[in-house]
């Protein structure tokens, strides 16, 4: 077997992607089904001079990666539902202070301790609105190991581009399943390095004054520019302010920098979408079953297509509206009570043709499940 072909778990594919992207600091806390990410990184990071630390909880893990990011490192943490809940406070801090970081949530069944070893996609809306206050967020997902790798690299690139935390929403099936991963060559995928200020020593550096293109060049802690970072609303120096103009300006900036770039951030994969009468919309491991349905029904003349979402937030409204115009039935396939279904209904012109095919019992939704639900919708009986 070639050296660059591996047979690995999805969690390992995430590790490979993160290291490829330049990860050099990881803080985490053990939790099923994400633990392998921490285990592998504790092994791999120091080999490359990077650092791994197991913190006392997920709260501390999230805080530690923000601290390390400020010293110029590419940082990540990984967890699952209960830990993701604990990270919400510091996730909001990273949004407010515009610190690049990557948070992996390998989803398991919830609420609460739920189903530690079983699959679910129940944290989609938590990723969007889990932390308090108005904000925008980037969340990516993937259904196979090659894409886990690619989306992990993408997460690091987006975190640097928009100076924001990026959430990777994987799930237990993708995280634990083993399949082939082809490691890309060095330089095969472009990597974005941190944008650092060119302001020289002695000249006023404004850490929170966006450039014309909206980007904020950073200065590493320990460097020549000393500035304040706070989770309070702050002015261009990073000083706390409750001036209404400053408050509104900052909140608009935090939201606009992401939402105005929705189409640029949107990643998806399309299978037979153009002439589809039935369009399946799915993501993560459920998209594997949805793809199976498409590949199985197409040869039999059924015009079924699949739109696999890889960017969940900001939600690609334009893309969804466009692809849902011609199909007679849109079937959202997910493992929750319809978290993406609701956003699809809001995006399309005729929401009454949008249906849900779900499974919420900790088992992976199967192609047969999807087929049966589709037959019921089509009035063909099971």
């Amino acid at each position: 077997m070639k050296k660059n072909i591996k047979f690995v778990q999805g969690n390992e594919a995430c590790v490979e992607g993160a290291l490829y992207a330049g990860l050099d600091f990881f803080a985490g806390y053990p939790i099923t089904p994400s633990t392998e990410i921490a285990e592998h990184l504790s092994h791999r990071l120091p080999q490359q001079g990077g650092k791994f630390i197991q913190m006392e909880d997920e709260i501390a893990s999230m805080c530690a990666i923000i601290g390390a990011s400020l010293t110029g490192h590419k940082v990540m943490t990984a967890t699952s539902g209960p830990g993701f809940s604990l990270m919400q406070e510091a996730l909001g801090y990273a949004i407010m202070t515009e610190i690049p970081c990557v948070i992996v949530n390998v989803q398991r069944g919830g609420p609460s301790t739920g189903l530690p070893t079983s699959v679910s996609q129940g944290d989609i809306n938590q990723a969007r609105w889990g932390t308090h206050g108005d904000h925008a967020v980037i969340a990516l997902t993937a259904s196979n190991h090659q894409d886990v790798f690619l989306m992990t690299v993408e997460a690091f690139n987006l975190a640097e581009t928009y100076r924001t935390p990026v959430i990777l929403l994987f799930d237990e099936v993708v995280g634990h399943m083993r399949e082939r991963l082809i490691l890309p060559e060095k330089d095969e995928i472009p990597l974005l390095e941190r944008l650092r200020t060119s302001v020289p020593e002695g000249v006023d550096y404004h850490p929170y004054l966006p450039r014309e293109d909206g980007r904020l060049p950073m200065s590493d802690f320990g460097g020549v520019h000393r500035y304040n970072v706070t989770g309070l609303f702050h002015d261009m120096w990073g000083f706390p302010s409750n001036n209404p103009g400053v408050v509104q300006g900052l909140l608009r900036h935090l939201i606009d920098k992401i939402n105005n770039n929705t189409n640029r951030i949107a990643r998806c994969k399309e299978y037979f979408v153009d002439d589809a009468q039935v369009l399946l919309i799915s993501y993560g491991s459920s998209a594997r079953s949805a793809l199976h349905v498409v590949q199985n029904r197409r040869p039999r003349g059924e015009r079924v297509g699949l739109l696999e979402l890889q960017t969940l937030w900001p939600f690609p409204i334009d893309l969804i509206r466009d692809r849902c115009k011609t199909p007679e039935i849109v079937l959202v396939v997910e493992m929750n009570m319809g978290q993406i279904l609701q956003t699809v209904k809001l995006a399309v012109d005729d929401p009454e043709k949008v249906f849900l095919a779900n499974r919420i019992d900790g088992s992976l939704i199967t192609p047969t499940d999807i087929r049966n639900i589709l037959r019921v919708i089509q009035g063909r009986g099971v």
Binding site: K51, A60, C63, I66, G67, S69, G72, F221, L232, W237
Partner: protein
């Protein structure tokens, strides 16, 4: 360097009440740093939430004003990210030991090099005078109108038990001692804890009839004693001041450097 060169005038006036002890702590801290001749670029001040935590904003270092109780967790990331930096973490008693208690004992256990300053005014001042884990049994607070039935921690004993390798206590009355202790704490290669008794005349003082700020400082003068003094033997209720622990144990970041070496050799 004059004291004013360490402060950010843009940030002033500060938000502390008249008579608050925290300004004395800030002054002593600046003088300690001045005496040590540390470069401002090498100092990162990480704080949480509360009156004490506002120190970070007022000083001209790299400053990170974080979440309630989480300062030490953020500081751990900063220190591991750039071990050459001097990390100073000013915290309040509630910040460090209630909401941040878990981070506190684990940072102490790891012996990661940073200076944790616990400004103990025995009250939540920012929110208006609720009891803290250091208020103590029998005290009054806005959330303990019938007296407090919570017992307090002894910060020094807690720190020692958790593994801190430098533990000291000072008060806002004993400024010279505070400066001296802070200098040693900053130089210490490991996790240092300095508890500073700092008066809150506005809330703790008023609720508990402690008198003015001056009277509260006189209380520190009369109710504390140098560590190991004869007075303590005669009056065990006196609170001891000084350096309780100063010992060597491998520091976390230096230990991690060894991990990197081990991993690189093993990986080959």
């Amino acid at each position: 360097m004059p004291v004013k060169d360490y402060i950010r005038e843009r940030f002033f006036p500060h938000m502390w009440c008249p008579g608050c002890g925290h300004g004395i702590v800030m002054n002593a801290l600046i003088r300690a740093i001045e005496d040590l001749g540390l470069s401002k670029n090498e100092i990162v001040m990480v704080s949480g939430i509360g009156c004490s935590s506002r120190i970070s904003g007022y000083l001209d270092f790299h400053t990170l004003h974080t979440l309630h109780g989480r300062a030490l967790a953020f500081a751990t990331g900063v220190k591991m990210g750039l071990p050459g930096l001097n990390i100073i973490v000013p915290m309040g008693d509630g910040d460090a030991l209630a909401i941040g208690g878990n981070h506190f004992i684990h940072a102490a256990r790891r012996n990661i090099e940073m200076t944790a300053i616990i400004m103990n005014n025995r009250i939540y001042g920012m929110t208006g005078g609720q009891y803290s884990p250091l208020s103590g049994y029998g005290t009054l607070a806005t959330t303990a109108p019938y007296t407090n039935i919570d017992y307090d921690f002894d910060v020094v004993e807690l720190s020692i038990a958790a593994g801190a390798t430098f533990v000291a206590r000072a008060t806002t009355y004993h400024v010279q001692q505070m400066i001296d202790v802070l200098k040693k704490a900053i130089l210490h290669e490991g996790f240092s804890v300095v508890e500073i008794l700092s008066q809150c005349p506005t809330y703790f003082g008023r609720k508990n009839k402690m008198g003015s700020a001056v009277e509260m400082m006189a209380y520190y003068r009369d109710h504390t004693t140098p560590l190991g003094s004869k007075a303590k033997k005669e009056n065990p209720d006196l609170i001891e001041r000084g350096i309780f622990v100063q010992k060597e144990r491998p520091e976390y970041c230096r230990e991690y450097d060894k991990i990197i070496e081990r991993a690189k050799t093993k990986g080959k």
